[in-house]
C-alpha cells in the first residue's frame, strides 16, 4: 500500500469532476489529494489524484476511470521519473518579538515566503512535495497554526514524456 499519483486528462465539461470523484467514493477508493485545472488543450482539464492502495486496486481504479466517457487518458506517474509539487498557505500566530523572528527563520530554511504580515499573524507560502509541507506544518504547530490550506499535489513526468490525449 503506497500513494499513487494519477494524472487524468478529462473533457472540460460540467459534471466531469463529480463523475471522477463519484467513482472513487462508490468503489471504496479514498482520495488522499486532488487538484484540478485547465491544461495545454483549451477543451480539456487535467486532474491529479493521489490515492493509496495496492497495485491491483490501483489498476482497477484506472480501468474504471478509463470507462468514463469523459476521461481521455489516465496515467500512473508513481513509478516514473516525475516532478510533484504542492503549495500550502499557513497562517501562524506570531506575536511581535522572538517567536516572529523564529518563524521567519524557519520559513527561510524551508524557502517559504511570507506573503502577509498582520499584527498577530504571519502567512507563509510554501511549495514542495507532500513531505516537505508536512514537516513545515509540524514545526510551526508549536506557535499555533490558525489556518492551513493546501492545493493538493500536481505532478508531471520528467523529460520529454507526456500524458496527453490518445487513449
Amino acid at each position: 500500500m503506497k500513494p499513487h499519483t494519477l494524472s487524468i486528462l478529462v473533457e472540460n465539461r460540467a459534471g466531469v469532476l463529480s463523475r471522477v470523484t463519484g467513482l472513487f467514493s462508490r468503489r471504496g477508493f479514498n482520495i488522499e489529494s486532488l487538484a484540478v485545472g485547465p491544461c495545454e488543450e483549451p477543451d480539456m482539464s487535467r486532474i491529479t489524484i493521489v490515492v493509496i492502495g495496492d497495485d491491483e486496486k490501483i489498476e482497477q481504479v484506472m480501468k474504471q476511470l478509463n470507462k468514463l466517457i469523459d476521461v481521455i487518458k489516465v496515467s500512473d506517474l508513481t513509478d516514473s521519473e516525475r516532478v510533484e509539487r504542492e503549495l500550502a498557505l499557513i497562517k501562524v500566530t506570531a506575536e511581535l518579538g522572538t517567536t516572529r523572528a523564529e518563524i521567519m527563520q524557519i520559513a527561510s530554511i524551508f524557502r517559504a515566503s511570507i506573503v502577509d504580515v498582520g499584527a498577530k499573524t504571519l502567512i507563509l507560502q510554501v511549495i514542495g512535495d507532500t513531505d516537505k509541507i508536512d514537516a513545515l506544518e509540524k514545526l510551526l504547530r508549536q506557535y499555533g497554526i490558525k489556518e492551513f490550506v493546501r492545493t493538493g499535489t500536481v505532478g508531471i513526468l520528467r523529460g520529454s514524456k507526456t500524458v496527453t490525449s490518445g487513449k
Partner: protein
Amino acid sequence: MKTGAKILVESLQREGTEIIFGYPGGVVLPIYDELYNSSLQHILVRHEQAAAHAADGYARASGRVGVCLATSGPGACNLVTGIATAYMDSVPVVALTGQVPTNLLGNDAFQESDITGITMPITKHNYLVKSAGELSRVVQEAFYIAGTGRQGPVLIDIPKDVSTGMSADVKLPEKVTLRGYNPTYKGHKRQIERALELLDRAERPLIYAGGGIISSDASSELVEFATLASIPVTTTLMGIGCIPCNHPLNLGMLGMHGTEYANFAVTECDLMIAIGARFDDRVTGKIDTFAPHAKIIHIDIDPAEIGKNKRVDVPIVGDVKAVLKDLLSLMKKRDAREIWIKKIRHWKQHHPLKCPTNGALHPQYIIRTLSDLVKDRAVIVSEVGQNQMWTAQHFCFHHPRTWITSGGLGTMGYGLPAAMGAHFARPDVPVFDIAGDGSIQMNIQEFGTIASNNIPVKVVILNNMYLGMVRQWQELFYDHRYSFTELPPVDFVKIADAYGIDGIRVESPDEVLPALQASIDCNGPFVMDFRIEREENVFPMVPAGAAINEMIGGHPRT
C-alpha cells in the same frame, strides 16, 4: 428551424427507433405533442419503472437499443430501478427524461430532480442537454455509446425549453468519434496464441460462458469452438441460451443454484475459459476455491472485468465474437477429450436436477411442461427469486435472446414489463412471464398496459403465498423463522378479470398442460395462477460463502 421536440423525434427515427415505452407529464408535453403525429409507436405504461424494463426487455430480445421516456422529477426517479437493472446486465437502453426549464435548474422547481446526478453511477453515460442545437448530436452519441463496446444504458435529460427551443438542422458525422471512448474489439494476437497453447495442453478444459456471448451475438461461434475443441460449457444465468440445452457439451448453469455437474466440473477443470462473464459472487461462491486447479483465460470486452475478482493467466480484451472467430481460425481440431467427457457424462447421469413427483403441484413440473409444450418457439421472461431459478434450471432453452431475466440487480417486478417489451421485439412467438406471487405484485399495474394494448404476454404465476426465496433462506439458515415473508392469498384471476384479461387458476398437476395450452390458444394476454407446493425449495444450493462444490439438496457424491 425546428423545435427541439421535433429534432428529438427525428433523431430517434434516424437511429432506427420504432417503439418507445413511456409516460407523459408536464415538462415532456412538447415531446408528447410531437409524438401525437409521429409514426413512432408509443406504448403507454402504467408506471415509469415499467417503461424502463420494457425498453430493456425489447433490447434483450431484439439486440437493438430500447428507448423509454418519462417526465422530470418523479417520472425520472421511477426509471431509476429500470436503468440500474439494464446497467448491471449491460443492456443497451436510451432513457429520455424531461427536465424543468434551464432557467429553473437547481432551483428546487416543481417536479425537479437531478436525474443526471442520480443516475451517474448506474448509466454508462448521461447528458443534460442545454440547447436544441445539441440534441441531434447527443442522441446520436447516446445510441452509439449504449449499443457499442460493453453495452449499457445512457440517459438524456431534456429541459422543457430545450424541447420548445428552435434550431436549424445540424450536420451529423456518419460515424461517431469520441476521444474518450474507444472500445477494443480485436483480441491481442499474442494472447490468443497463448490461449491456444494452454488449450492444447489442457486435459480438463471448461468454458464458463456469460451474457457477453448473447450481447455479442456469438452463440454460433461459441458452439463451434466448444465442439471443435471438445470443451464442455457451463453458462451463467445471463449466458443461458448461448448453447442449446440439449447439446451434449452443455452442463447448464453453474454457481449458487447451478447443476451439480457444472459445479463439479468447475472444481475439477484444469483450464477455465471465461467468455463474456465476470466472476460474480453468485457464480463463484467462495472465490479462493473457485476453479482451484485451473489456469484461467478470460475473454471480455471490458478491461475492468479482467482480474477484478480472480487472477487471470491469459487476459484477452476484445469483442467475444471477434475473439472466438480468431481462435477458430487458428486452432486445430482436437481429439475428443474422452476421459474428461466421460467423467462429466457420469456426473450428469448420477446428479441430475431433481423434479419431485408426488402428486402435488410442483413448480419444476410446470416449467418442464411449458418447456416441452413450446419447445424452441417462445421467449421466456422471469421475475426474480425462486421462479427465476426454477426456470433457469428446468426450462430447455435452444436459442440466444429467448431467456430474459434480471441477473445482476435481481429486480423483482422486472418480468411483466420486460415481457411486454420482448413481445414487440418478437411478435412471432409467444412470450411468457414466469412470476412468483411476490414479484408479480411489484408491477401488477402493467396488467393495464397488456390489456389495453392487447399485448399477448402469458403470465405464469408460481403462487406459494410466500416471498419464496427469502423464505427458503429463513428455513435453511434462520431456523424457520419466517419473518415477514408470508403473503396473504390473492386471487390473481380476479385481478386479471378486472383488467379484462382471461385467466385460470391451477391446483393440480393434471390441469397444468391444459392451462398452458389455453394460454397459447388465447390471442391476447393470459394469466395463470398456479397454486404450487408452498414450501418447495430451489436445489441444489451453495450456501453463502461456501465453495461451489459444497452443495445442499443434491445427490450423494458418487
